[in-house]
Amino acid sequence: MSSTKKTSYRALSGAEAAAEAMRQINPEVVAVYPITPQTPIIETFARFVANGKVDTSLINAESEHSAMSAVVGASAAGVRAMTATSSQGLAYMAEVCYIASGLRLPIVMAVVNRALSAPLNIHGDQSDAMMLRDSGWIQLFSENAQEVYDNTLIALRLAENKKVLAPAMVMQDGFTTSHAVQNVLTLSDEKVKKFIGEYKPLYPLLDIRHPVTYGALDLFDYYFEHKRQQVEAMENALKVLKLIDREFFSVSGREYSFVEEYRLKDADIAIALMGATAGTAKTVVDKLRNKRIKAGLLKIRLFRPFPAEIIKRALSRVKKLAILDKAIAPGARAAIANEIRAIFAGEKNAPKIQDYIYGLGGRDIGPDDIGKVYKDLAKAKRIGELKKVRYIGLRARSSH
């Protein structure tokens, strides 16, 4: 690039960051179907294919169901296979997502989180990811374009680890991250190549000297055992990710853990959430800290497997906690609230917890909104006041 350049940062959107990681991974097969806001990932990647920057066979499938099916086929055949989607696309893939995880295929998929229809909405929330939270896929959430890039490379290593062999979704917030140009540091192609290593499939279908059968009928005599194995894979993922994160740090200088504890150590009041809003919340925490208010933030990066022990430890000193879900579960508690509350069930010194729903359909959430959450927490005295779910930025009355 230019000679006057003062940094090694690159201007990349979240979508471009995902595509750049895919270019460096150079998977044998990518099968996709376009959907907003995922489309710029595959537009960027298709350009890499057209310009000969990758060796990938790019399959333009006729639907997401077919795209995931093609990726499952390719992965079973014994190669690296990737895809990307959003919202309705993920919903349409759902059936095959369970096949990918059930067959233990280490597929990595970029998911640009978007609201689910109806009503029709193209903007970001995390209901699509939450729909598939129990599908046996690893789920990593990213705060910004940098984390999208890093998580994609890390997810590949994690998924392909012999003790894991589970597919992985790398999440980014629709538009907020996918379409925002930010500072991103990338690794050299050589470094990435070395980090991800050569892929050695466990049971490649095309190895005709060792013929195998995928997708055989598996009834009450063995299905249960195979599902138990998936639980084991997820438990192993917790151990393996720790090592991969450490290795990634030595390669990149960027440190990751299952959750990010932001000024949480001595925090009295805290927020727990996932995705881009974590960044916005950090700025609010800093402001409150300047006013000597002991506020903190728990950013969940790894949602599946759910790192319950780590989260329990991180939050054990917090007095009052707000759990912010960017997905709704009508008639029940939302996903993150459910998980964290379960950790503290029956615990004497558990933080008092208030559930919030925010950002549905891309509703903007700014520092003021988050400031109000901390204010609510600081004010609330009795447990009773903390029970009912609250909605950030929802109109209770029509404006005039």
Partner: protein, 108 residues
């Protein structure tokens, strides 16, 4: 068959030992058994082709015993040997398709 624990089986329900269909005996499903009248059989092998379970094995001429040679006078190099009763489900397609009605379905 002894059932294995979740720790002792390949992941993903993948079958890694080729040819293990042999271990799965579908013969128990059968209520009627195909019996071939070898004096009528012309070795046309329609039953071999139509059998949905590949339960009818074929022998080459060189493998025939003298006794079998005496029964089957046809010039074809292969012959209908017998239904493999571990696999045959007794569907009766062979009997239906036999052009000389050499196969009869007999109650087990």
């Amino acid at each position: 068959m002894k059932l294995k624990s979740w720790r002792d089986i390949p992941i993903g329900g993948v079958i890694i030992a080729a040819g293990n269909a042999k271990q799965f005996k579908t013969g128990a499903w059968r209520t009627k058994k195909p019996i071939t009248d070898k004096s009528k059989c012309t070795n046309c092998m329609r039953c071999v082709i139509f059998c949905p379970d590949a339960a009818i094995t074929v022998k080459s001429e060189s493998d025939l015993t003298d006794k079998e040679k005496a029964v089957f006078k046809a010039k074809t190099p292969v012959m209908l040997d017998r239904a493999d009763y571990d696999i045959c489900k007794g569907c009766g397609i062979c009997a239906e398709e036999c052009p000389v009605k050499a196969i009869e379905m007999v109650k087990e």
